[in-house]
């Protein structure tokens, strides 16, 4: 099927198999490998991108469903080489380790802040609860999003003690 998709502001026309998943269209056809495939079952969210303005798990969206729509991936988040504040905050708060879930987490976090500029830690946890991180235990992701929202990045405790 012929489809036309605007990805990160660039129009792409392709002839694709009807069964082609959006994640594979992005990764294999367009070579945008920032979004990752992780589970096949919509559980992990490593594949989260935006379809128009909504985060979707692109392993469970067909490429043909994106026909005539806009897709935004992690590669489209930085503007003119300047990182999004969420990206900066993830680095500052050690919100990533292996980096495999990170593009999906950041896309969800950006969407959350666009709709709720001052989220609580609990609201951040709810927003990312459909995505899996195997490295951070989520704590530093929550801190990162709080920091991006203009808070100091602490998730309700003072961060440590020594003796």
């Amino acid at each position: 099927m012929k489809i036309s998709v605007t990805v990160n502001g660039t129009d792409h026309q392709r002839d694709v198999e009807p069964r082609l998943l959006l994640i594979h269209f992005l990764r294999d056809e367009l070579r945008l490998t920032g979004a990752h495939w992780g589970c096949d079952t919509s559980n992990c969210g490593a594949c989260v991108v935006w379809l128009d303005e909504t985060p979707v798990k692109s392993c469970t969206v067909l490429a043909v469903m994106a026909d005539g729509h806009r897709v935004t991936t992690i590669e489209g988040l930085a503007r003119g080489g300047v990182l999004d504040p969420v990206q900066d905050a993830f680095a500052a708060c050690h919100g990533l380790q292996c980096g495999f879930c990170t593009p999906g987490m950041i896309m969800t976090a950006r969407w959350l802040l666009d709709h709720n500029p001052d989220p609580s830690a609990a609201e951040i946890r709810e927003a990312i609860s459909g995505q899996v991180c195997r490295c951070t235990g989520y704590e530093n992701i929550v801190r990162s999003v709080l920091r991006a929202a203009g808070h100091d990045g602490n998730d309700g405790n003072d961060g440590g003690a020594s003796g």
């Binding site: 294999d28 990752h36 050690h94 195997r134 951070t136 989520y138 440590g160």
Partner: protein, 782 residues
């Protein structure tokens, strides 16, 4: 002063934040084909025939082969990392559900999957052996006819049995329990995969693969393929987690290699999530009986344990070869004992192979769980507070180095200090008061402690090897004429931030900024030999090698600086990152100035031909022994069995912290592991061997809603034998936390008379425990 240490941001983040990392499936080579594996639907069956002719007729299929085809190339079987053999593609029979049977190569990944449907396999089903407890029964199905020992993999013991039995006989109190540490899976978010390239002209193989141990893998591929080792290059790109899952080699890698050699084109194989959960290495699966002996006043006297270890169909445990049960015999934990003894029997079953993975520190996680559950049970039996019982029996700081009853020499520790800090942070006494008030109101709150001693950084070359490769690691350090440095190491990061921590180690030794040091890893053509990253060994072994190499550079720089100043080397001292003339410290040269001189026509002293570069191979004199005190607070709903982790206090001592931000991140990860393993994660099977946890819908991982905001504390007891006093930290929290969670839940359920409940403590299992019914490990899915 450690000027380069501290919570500096990571070098890795710049690419990963932009989606510019290079994970295995991100790599696309010109002309690349895609492979897919046909797997057995049955746990145990004889293969009558495999017919790939219809698959070969598919217009997009380029090649298809079976075990018989691989046998013609001598590649139907491969060695495991523990010296057993494992089928690459099954030839005689299949031994677990998900075992590899045939391989198809096509021009795209969808076509390869389509073609699997066209392969016809005729199986003759055999009775499967699923329950490890029956593996040694007469008449049990035999998993491995190719071996002489039936289903017995090994019998192994450690400690002094007679002394232990005598201590038990003299004890006032003996408490014992059967416990299951269920099978789990490391489940890194990136599955395993490989791309093989074979240069038919030069006879050179390049394998891009998800490997935590690229050098050891290269040696194994040489043995399997018959290619000379210098014609093999293993490149491990960015890894999306590993946690032990990427230590073994897997049949898929060998299939990709064989396909590349047959087709002359690059071949990619990446497993899907179900393949990963069903066939790559599992963890744990220990059936344990433990007993603890004590005096009436709460002095622990002795421990003993009998373990049945389920190894699956092949013995592929990734651990040092002299230790068939890994380091389980560290099960004496952190306490003063008179004696201890353990016996471990390993058995084959019709399940996926593995056993040593998932941040277990070679089975120390099972050992810690056993001793910390027994300690809590003993406290209950004695009517003592579990914190008080632990404090009374902990090793004292003056006892280090301490040699335990099973032969481990712990290098350093101040255990009471760590436990006191954890109790203070938790507000322990207040928590107990709150618990009492809640119980009076019919609310079930639990407070669970665990204290653990880890042993990481394998290991001394005389004692520890994998497949005959001693567990030493090299480091090469080059210093360019401008004083910028490149460190090449044998270990491979999976998210631990080696590019940052190792740069900090070198920078500190040479008076540089971490920005001045780049770290090369993961490519066998560009790095020195070493055994790789697992068992928390990167900083203890490879980090030590980097420091030794940097100190050699510094000593060469001293000779060059002496020539520059026209003084004797002894007239110089290293101070604040520069070589300075004694008594006149303003006369100083830093590494950049000295490097420039070392590359210049300056006449150099004897022994320095030029340049500052140096190498090192590090043979650790001992393991390092990090430790910690954890407290988990839970609330249990007795109506639903739901457990909520309210707080998690974790005090870790990993010696000197090079990058505390990264260290804390490692602890965060491990605490989430502990919550997941204790409450929800288990790889379970039905009685015919069907894996019931073959997707993330069934193998439940903790999310942001189950994981609390951890409260971390630290003490610092440097390792006396590591060059900078560091110990490993990558696995501490995974090792130490499950016992704290289970102790907490069991504590919450004490009013119901519950003294033990096996993991995973899903709502269904907690509810069963409340009803006085035995936990069922197979009720993981609820």
């Amino acid at each position: 002063m450690n000027h380069a240490y501290g919570p500096v941001p990571r070098k890795e983040d710049a690419r990963l934040l932009r989606g510019q990392g290079t994970f295995i499936d991100d790599i696309a080579l010109p002309g690349m084909l895609h492979g897919a594996i046909l797997r057995s639907p049955l746990a145990h069956a004889r293969i009558v025939s495999v017919d790939v002719s219809a698959a070969l007729a598919h217009p997009m299929v380029v090649a298809a082969f079976t075990g018989a085809d691989l046998a013609e190339r001598g590649m139907a079987w491969m060695p495991t990392v523990f010296g057993d053999v494992q089928a690459v593609l099954a030839t005689d029979k299949v031994r677990f559900q998900g075992q590899e049977v045939a391989f198809v190569v096509a021009t795209d990944r969808y076509a390869a999957r389509d073609a699997l449907e066209l392969i016809a396999v005729d199986y003759e089903p055999l009775p499967p052996l699923i329950d490890a407890l029956t593996a040694l029964d007469p008449g049990a199905p035999v998993v491995r006819e190719d071996l002489p020992g039936g289903n017995r993999v090994f019998d192994w013991s450690a400690g002094d049995k007679a002394a232990t039995d005598a201590a038990f006989a003299a004890a006032d109190v003996v408490v014992g329990c059967d416990m299951i540490y269920p099978r789990s899976h490391p489940a890194p978010l990136e599955t395993c995969g490989a791309i093989a390239e074979y240069d038919t002209t030069g006879g050179r193989l390049t394998l891009h693969a998800t490997s935590q141990a690229p050098h050891a893998h290269r040696t194994m591929y040489a043995a399997i393929t018959g290619l000379p080792e210098h014609k093999i290059r293993v490149v491990s790109p960015d890894l999306g987690g590993g946690f032990g899952a990427k230590v073994p080699i897997y049949p898929g890698y060998l299939c990709a290699i064989a396909a590349a050699m047959v087709t002359g084109r690059p071949v990619k194989w990446v497993e899907d999530r179900s393949e990963s959960l069903m066939s790559t290495t599992f963890a744990r699966d220990y059936h344990m009986h433990g007993e603890i002996a004590a005096t009436a006043d709460g002095t622990i006297l002795a421990l003993r344990a009998r373990v049945l270890a389920d190894h699956g169909a092949f013995n592929a445990a990734a651990q040092p070869s002299k230790f068939p049960a890994g380091f389980f015999h560290i099960f004496t934990g952190s306490y003063q004992l008179r004696a201890a003894h353990c016996e471990v029997t390993g058995v084959f079953t019709n399940k996926a192979p593995g056993g040593v993975a998932y941040s277990c520190s070679f089975r120390i996680t099972e050992a810690v769980y056993l001793v910390e559950r027994l300690t809590d049970m003993l406290a209950r039996e004695l009517g003592m507070d579990p914190a008080e019982l632990r404090m009374r029996n902990l090793l004292r700081p003056e006892q280090f180095p301490y040699t335990g009853p099973t032969g481990w020499e712990y290098d350093s520790g101040d255990y009471p200090r760590a436990l006191r800090l954890a109790l203070d942070m938790a507000g322990y006494d207040e928590l107990r008061r709150e618990q009492a008030e809640r119980r009076a109101r019919g609310e079930y709150m639990g407070i669970g402690l665990s204290f653990f001693t880890e042993g990481v950084g394998a290991g001394p070359r005389g004692q520890m090897d994998i497949l005959g490769l001693a567990m030493t690691d090299g480091a090469d350090l080059r210093v360019h004429p401008t004083g910028k440095a490149v460190l090449a190491v044998s270990v491979q990061t999976q998210g631990q931030g080696h590019e940052t921590t190792f740069a900090q180690l070198v920078a500190h030794e040479l008076g540089l900024s971490p920005d001045d040091v780049d770290v090369v890893h993961g490519d066998t053509d560009r790095t020195p030999f070493g055994l790789g990253t697992y068992g928390s060994r990167s900083t203890p072994v490879s980090g030590a090698a980097a420091v030794v190499a940097a100190r050699r550079v510094r000593e060469r720089a001293r000779l060059v600086a002496a020539a520059m100043f026209e003084v004797a080397p002894d007239d110089l001292e290293w101070l604040d990152g520069k070589w300075r003339v004694r008594g006149d410290p303003d006369q100083a040269f830093g590494i950049a100035e000295i490097a420039k001189a070392a590359h210049s026509p300056l006449e150099l002293p004897a022994g320095v031909e030029g340049h500052l570069d140096a190498s090192a191979v590090y043979n650790p004199p001992n393991l390092t022994f990090p430790f910690g005190a954890y407290i988990c607070v839970t609330d249990v709903d007795p109506g639903t069995g739901e457990v909520t982790v309210r707080r998690f206090i974790a005090v870790d001592d990993c010696g000197v912290r090079i990058n505390p931000m990264i260290v804390e991140g490692q602890v965060h990860r491990g605490l989430a592991d502990g919550i997941g393993i204790a409450l929800m994660q288990a790889i379970v099977f039905d009685d015919t061997g069907n894996c019931l946890a073959g997707s993330f819908m069934d193998y439940l991982l903790p999310t942001s809603l189950e994981c609390p905001s951890p409260e971390l504390g630290e003490t610092v007891t440097p390792s006396p034998h590591h060059p900078v006093g560091a110990k490993g930290i990558g696995e501490s929290a995974t090792v130490g936390s499950p016992a704290a969670v289970v102790n907490s839940v069991v504590d919450a359920l004490a009013p119901f008379g519950v003294v033990h409940a096996d993991m995973p403590l899903t709502p269904a299992n907690v509810w069963r425990a409340i009803q006085g019914r035995p936990v069922r490990t197979d009720l993981a899915i609820s």
